[in-house]
Every structure is written in C-alpha cells, then in structure tokens.
Symmetry: C2
Subunit: 154 residues, 2 copies
Amino acid sequence: MIHTLSVLIENRPGALARVSNMFARRGYNIESLAVGPTERPTVSRITLRVDCSVHSLEQIVKQMHKLVNVLRVNELEAETAVERELALIKVSAPPDKRAELLALAEVFNARVADLGPDAIVFEVVGVKELVRTGRIGLGRSSLRKAPPKQHALR
Amino acid sequence: MIHTLSVLIENRPGALARVSNMFARRGYNIESLAVGPTERPTVSRITLRVDCSVHSLEQIVKQMHKLVNVLRVNELEAETAVERELALIKVSAPPDKRAELLALAEVFNARVADLGPDAIVFEVVGVKELVRTGRIGLGRSSLRKAPPKQHALR
C-alpha cells in the first residue's frame, strides 16, 4: 500500500541525504519525493510516497525521528489531507494530430505549457481525491484509434 | 546563481540516495528537488535546483555522470525549458479575514484546495517565465494593512 509522509527537516546540506539513505539501507523504494522551502527559511518540507506495509511504515517513522535534522514526521491520510501533484507531459504531436490532442487535453483539464512544431508540453495538476471511491474501471474505447502517446494524458 | 538540473535515473532503491549523498559530500545545499515516475516504469526523473557557481555546476554534472543508476543529466535553462512549481499554502483565516484573502487569492491566480473554519489551503502553480525580464521591483503598498500571513501568497 502506498503511504504519503510529510517530513519537516532543518534546511542543511546533508539533511535530504540522511533521509534518502535510511530508505536505501532498508531497501524501500521511494515512489516520489518532493523537497522544498517552507514559510520558515531554516526549515524544508519533504513529501514522499513509499509502497510498504503498515508495519514497515511504523518502523520507517520511528527511524526517521531518530535522524539528525528531522523535526517532525506525519503521515498524510486521504481522509484528512489535501494532496496535489503537478505533471509536465511532453507528447509528440505532428501537425495532423494536434487538434485531436488539444481536444483531449481539454477533457483532462490539461493546460498547454509549450507548443512546438512536433511536440506539445501539457501541464496537469492532479487532485488526489479527499475521499476515495475504491478502484473503478471501464474498458478504454480509445484503444482502437489511439493518437501517439495518448496514454500519457490519463 | 541557481541552476536547475534534470536527471534521469534508474528506478532502483538507493538511486536517489547516491545523488543526494554526492551533493552532501560536496557541501552543496539542494534548494528544491522533485523525483517521480516517467513514462518508462524503470526510469525516474529528478529535477533539482542548486545554488552554485558555473564552475561548481560543471563539477557536479561530471560527478553525477559517474554515479551508478544515473542515465542522463541536463541543465534546464530559462531560455529553452518549461518550468513549473506547485505550492500548497495554508493561511490562517479567521472569519472576518476570509473575504479579503479570497479576493487576494484571485489576484494571484490561487485556487482554494481546502476551506476550514480557521484556515484556507491555496493551490498555486508558479510559472517560471521562459524569458526573464531581470529582477524588477516596486515598494509594497500592502505593508500598511497586511492581513495575517498574507506574504505567503506572493
């Protein structure tokens, strides 16, 4: 199961290395991680996603609390947290496919970040729902006439 | 000067640790870093910002190329790259300040991600211009009657 952790660290060289070393030593692969400044110049926030059991997560949180420069560790849970993800997606777009791609982008609320002669870069902000429905699905009707790399937009 | 590097790495435990260790060993502080999946399941992309001289950057790039799991390193330059940053900003918002804050948010193109009884979480996507104007500035006229934590919206 994928868990999201929000970690406040002192903004010092080596702080991120200590955190990522701890995951590497224990063999956990970080699915995604973002670290950046907070409203306090001396403090950074790491948001990371890791695929592990609840038991492993408890161990990880315990280990993190022991690390130098780590100030606070919280698990973000779908019910109580706001989560966002920003993606930039470059799609190959020869002239005859461009209209189709732009129409698709509109459906998925993607904005055009850059438009080149052969490619378009889309910007998508993904909202991870506050309350989840559980996984639902439908066969893709687009499979018969998929434009190139259209999968990148889903 | 702040430089942005885009690094493709193999999606293996320890790959991020090797990269962040290299920065820590050399004493460079990473301003921000994001790592996440790409369109290829075995490859992740790290985008990081580091404040260093052009000479140091050359050394960093050289060292990174030597690391296990690092596939490609590119500097993203303002003239040729599309850069975005997503921020979630929680602002304390007592009822009598809410209208003012929401009006301000509109000016800065911030969207409301969560609205609580005492706080609002805003979502802002920052566009780092493709061509820079150089730094320009004006005195803040808002300093006289700033709402609480309004600075977080700029």
